[in-house]
Amino acid sequence: MRAPDYRTPEIGIDGAAHQGKLFRQWETAPGLKGFFTTVDHKVIGLRYIVTAFIFLALGGVEALVMRMQLAGPNLALLTPDEYNQLFSTHGMTMIFLYASPILSGFSNYLWPLLLGSRDMAFPRLNALSYWIYLASGLFLYAGFLTGNGPNDGWFNYVPNASKAFNPGLNQDFYALGMVFLGISVTVGAANFIVTAFRTRAPGMSINRLPILVWGTLTASVANLVVVPAVSLAFFMLWMDRQFGTHFFDAAGGGQALLWQHLFWIFGHPWVYAIVLPAMGMVSDGLPVFCRRPLVGYSVVALSTVATMILGFGVWVHHMFATGLPGLGLAFFSGASIAITLPSAVAVFAWIATIWHGRPVITTAFLFFSSMILLFVIGGVSGFMTASVPVDWQLTDTYFVVAHLHYVLIGINVFPVVGAMYFWFPKMSGRFLDEKLGRWNFWTMFLGFNLAFLPMHLTGLLGMPRRVYTYNDYPGWATLNLLTSVGSFIFALGVLLFFVNVVKSLRVGAKAGANPWDAPTLEWSVPSPPPPYNFGVIPTVASRHPLWESRLEENGVLSSMDRGMLLDSGKETIATTALDAQPDMILEMPEDSYAPVILTAGMSVLFVGLLLKNWITVAVGAVIVAGGILAWLWPSRALREREPAVEAAHG
C-alpha cells in the first residue's frame, strides 16, 4: 500500500502539449473494444439519446396504427387483443423507454460540461445504466415482437394482469422487464446525485447550478425514492403469477388496490421526473435566445424542488374513483391543486424572460417558447382533474388522454427537440438546418394541436379511454378523424426532425465553440468537446461565466484558461457539496468491460427467470458475480484504499 499523498493540484495555463497529454489519457480505444468498454459520458449520453429516439419512433408508429383503427367508428383494422397490446406497448415505450432515457441522455452528455468536470462521478456506473437500459428495452420489445407485449396498459392494474385473466407470457415479460429497467434508473439516479453534489468546478456553488441540473437532480432524488416501490410491485406481481403468492389477490386475502398505491406512488413522481429536466432545458435554453439571464433564477430553482416535494403527495389523484374515503380524497385534491403554483412560477419566469429580453426567433426558440403554451394547456387540464368531483366525470375519458399528451409531448418532446437544435452544434460541431427547422417546428406544432386540442372535446363528449373501437355517437367520428389526421402531420414533423439530424450531421454549417454566444461552461470548450472536456478545470465566479464581462455581475471573473491541470492520470476535481470548494482529486476509472459483462449476465438471469429455467438463472448469476468481482477488484490507479487528498485551495 502506498503512503497517503497530500498532493496539491498544479495550477497552470491550458496549452496544446497539455491537451495532447490529456487526450492520450482520456481517449477511448478504437474499434469494438472501445465500443464495449467506453465510460466517456459524452458517448454514453449520445447512445442514450439515439436509443431513446429510436424508441420514440417505434412508439410513434404504434400510435399511428392505433390512430388508423380509431380514424372512424367501428373499424376493424385491429383485433381487440392487437389494439390492447399496442396501446400498452405505446405507453410503456413512450414513458419508460423514451421520455426518461432521453433526458438521462441529455443530462449524461451535458452535466460534466455544464459543471466544469471531466466526467460523471461514477463513469462505469454510467456505462452500466446505459447497457441495462438497452438490454431491458430489448427484453421488453422481445415480448411485444413475439406477441407477448404488455396488454393491460402501462399502469397494469391487477387482477387483469394476474395469471387467472392473463395466462400468457405478456405480463411476465412486462413485470421482469420493468424490474430490470429499474436497476438502470436507480444506478443512474445515484450517479446524477453524487455528480451534482461532488464534481462541480470550483466556485460553482449550489446557487450557480444551471436549472437543467436542478431539474435532473430533483428528478433523480425522486427516482431513488420511488423506483423501489414499482420494482417491488412488479416483483410481487410476478410472484403472484408464478409462485401463487396472494399480494394482490382478494380471494387469498390480498388487495387489488395495493397495486394501484404502489404503482402511482411511483407513477406520479415519475411524471415530474420526466418533465422537470425538460423544463430545465427551457429555463437554460430560452434565455440564450432572449439575450438575457433567466428571470427569477432562485424561485425557479426552488419551485423545481417544491414541485417534486408536492409531487410525492398527489398520487391518489389517479385513484379518485376507487372508493377511498372522502377525507383522504380532499387532502390529495388540495395537494393536486396546490402543485399548480410552483409550475406557474416557471411559466411567469419564462414569459418575463422573453418580455424583458430581445427574442431571436430561431427554431430552438420556437420549440422552447411554444412549450410554454403547451405546458399551460396541459397544466390547466391537470388542474381540472385535480378537483375530485370533476375528475369523477373526466377520468378515463379522452380528456385525460389529451391532458397527458400535452404534458408528455408538450413538456418533454418539444423541449427535447428544442434542446437538440440548441445543443446539436456542441455535440456534432454543426448546426441543424434552420430552414428545415421551421418546417419541422410548424408541422409538429400544428399537427400536435390538431391531434390533441379537439381531443379534450372528445373526452367531454364522454368517449372512454382504451377502447379498441367506438360507436358513431354525435361528434365522435369527426373529432377522432381530426385527431388521426393531426397525428400523421405531427409524425411527419418528427420525421423532418430526424431527416434534419441525419442531413446536418454531414452537411450542416460548421459551428464554433460558442455559436449562440451562450453563457454556460459547455460553450467554453470546442464543439464537439475533447474526451477530457476541459484542458484545465475552470474556476467559476458567477452563474453566467461566459457573459460576465457584459453583465458586470460582481467584478470577479471566472477563469477558463488558467486552473488545475490535473494531468498526472485520469483525474478530475471533487468539490464540497454546497460551496464547491475544492476537496479532493478524483482518480477516474479507465474503460472497462465490467459494465457490459454485468449487463449480459443480468440479461441471461432475467431470461432465465422469465422461462423459469433455473440453470439459465444460475449461469446468469455466475456471470453477474464475475462482473461484479471484476468491477470491484481493487485497482491501484484508483487509490480506492487510500484517504482523501487535502484541499487544494488556500
Binding site: P159, F165, L257, V347, S387, W392, Q393, T395, L461
Partner: protein
C-alpha cells in the same frame, strides 16, 4: 353536444347536477388562463423581437428589467381561482361523496367481463330478482348502488346521472343516482378490463314511480310455459344447453354465470349494449357470438337452422 349519450356537459340527475357547475367553472378558468397566457406570450415575443436575419450571437446581452414582479403578481392572481376551486371542490365532494341515507331502492350491481348483472333487493326473498345490462329506477328518488366485481376491476359510470365509481374485487364500493325525469341514460365501463372493455355498456331507464312499479312487478314473474311446439323445443334447448350458463326463472335453466334471460325480450339491447335486441341479432349472437364480439365469454353455439328457429321462438316468449 347535448345529444352525445356519454357527454357530461349536461346533467339529468342530482349527483351530476352538483358536479356540472364546478366542471364549467374549472373549464372556463382553464380556457381563460390559456387565452391570457397566449396573449402575453405573443406580446412578449412581438414587442422586442430582433429582425429575422440577425444571428443570435450578434445580439448583445443585457440584463434588462428585473421581471420578478411577473412572478409575484402572477402567483397572486393565479391563487385566487385556485382557492375558489379548492373550496368549491370540498363542498361538492361533501354533497355527492356519501350515498343518501334513506335510499328508495338498493341495487347490487356486479360487473363481469363484459356485462353487468343487476340484482333488485326486496323485503321478501320473493321480491328479489336479477336482470342484466339494464337498470330501471324510479325518477325523483335516490337509488343506492352497491358495486361488486366478479373478476377484474371495472368502473360504473352513467355520465348524465353520476360520476365514476370503480368496481374492485374484494371491496364493495357504493354509488348513487337520482334522475330528474323519465328517460334512458347510457352507462359505460370506464376502467380497462380486458378484451371487450370497449363493449361493456348498460342503460339506466328512469321511469315514473308507477311505471317503475309495473316494470318491477312484471320482472318478478317467472317465464311463462311455452305454447307452440317450436317454443317447447326451444325451452328444451334452453334447459339443456343455454342453461349451463344462463337462468330463466320458472324453468330448469338455473345457472348464473351469464345474464338472466327470464325477461330477455323486455330489454332494448343484447351483449352489454352492443346490439339492438332483435331477431336477427339474437340469431347471430347465438350462432357466431365470437365473430360479433371477439373474446366474449358467450361461445358460438353452432345450432342447426331448425334449432335456431326453435330457440328464437322460445326467446320471443320471454317478455
Amino acid at each position: 353536444m347535448n345529444t352525445s349519450p356519454l357527454g357530461y356537459l349536461n346533467a339529468a340527475g342530482t349527483y351530476a347536477h352538483h358536479i356540472l357547475p364546478l366542471t364549467w367553472y374549472t373549464l372556463v378558468v382553464s380556457i381563460g388562463v390559456c387565452v391570457v397566457i397566449s396573449v402575453l406570450l405573443w406580446m412578449a415575443i412581438a414587442r422586442n423581437r430582433v429582425a429575422r436575419d440577425v444571428e443570435t450571437r450578434d445580439v448583445p446581452v443585457e440584463r434588462g428589467g428585473n421581471g420578478l414582479r411577473w412572478i409575484s403578481v402572477g402567483l397572486c392572481i393565479s391563487a385566487v381561482p385556485l382557492g375558489v376551486a379548492l373550496v368549491w371542490t370540498m363542498f361538492v365532494l361533501a354533497a355527492v361523496a356519501s350515498p343518501p341515507k334513506q335510499p328508495a331502492l338498493i341495487l347490487d350491481v356486479t360487473a363481469r367481463q363484459w356485462w353487468w348483472d343487476v340484482r333488485y333487493n326486496g323485503d321478501q326473498p320473493s321480491d328479489v330478482f336479477e336482470t342484466a345490462n339494464e337498470i330501471h329506477i324510479p325518477v325523483g328518488q335516490p337509488v343506492l348502488i352497491r358495486l361488486h366485481a366478479a373478476d377484474v376491476i371495472h368502473s360504473f359510470w352513467v355520465p348524465k346521472l353520476s360520476g365514476k365509481t370503480d368496481v374492485i374485487p374484494g371491496q364493495t364500493n357504493q354509488s348513487w343516482m337520482q334522475a330528474d325525469a323519465p328517460g334512458r341514460f347510457l352507462g359505460q365501463c370506464s376502467e380497462f378490463c380486458g378484451y371487450q372493455h370497449a363493449h361493456m355498456q348498460f342503460e339506466v331507464v328512469a321511469q315514473t314511480p308507477e311505471d317503475f312499479a309495473a316494470w318491477r312487478a312484471s320482472q318478478l314473474q317467472p317465464a311463462p310455459d311455452p305454447v307452440t311446439a317450436e317454443a317447447k323445443r326451444g325451452l328444451d334447448l334452453m334447459e339443456t344447453r343455454c342453461g349451463l350458463c344462463h337462468e330463466v326463472r320458472g324453468t330448469r335453466a338455473g345457472a348464473v354465470s351469464g345474464p338472466d334471460l327470464t325477461h330477455l325480450m323486455s330489454r332494448r339491447t343484447i351483449a352489454a349494449g352492443q346490439f339492438d335486441n332483435n331477431t336477427g341479432n339474437l340469431a347471430g349472437w347465438i350462432e357466431v357470438s365470437q365473430a360479433m364480439k371477439p373474446g366474449s365469454l358467450m361461445p358460438n353455439q353452432q345450432l342447426s337452422g331448425q334449432q335456431i328457429s326453435d330457440e328464437l321462438a322460445y326467446l320471443e316468449t320471454l317478455q
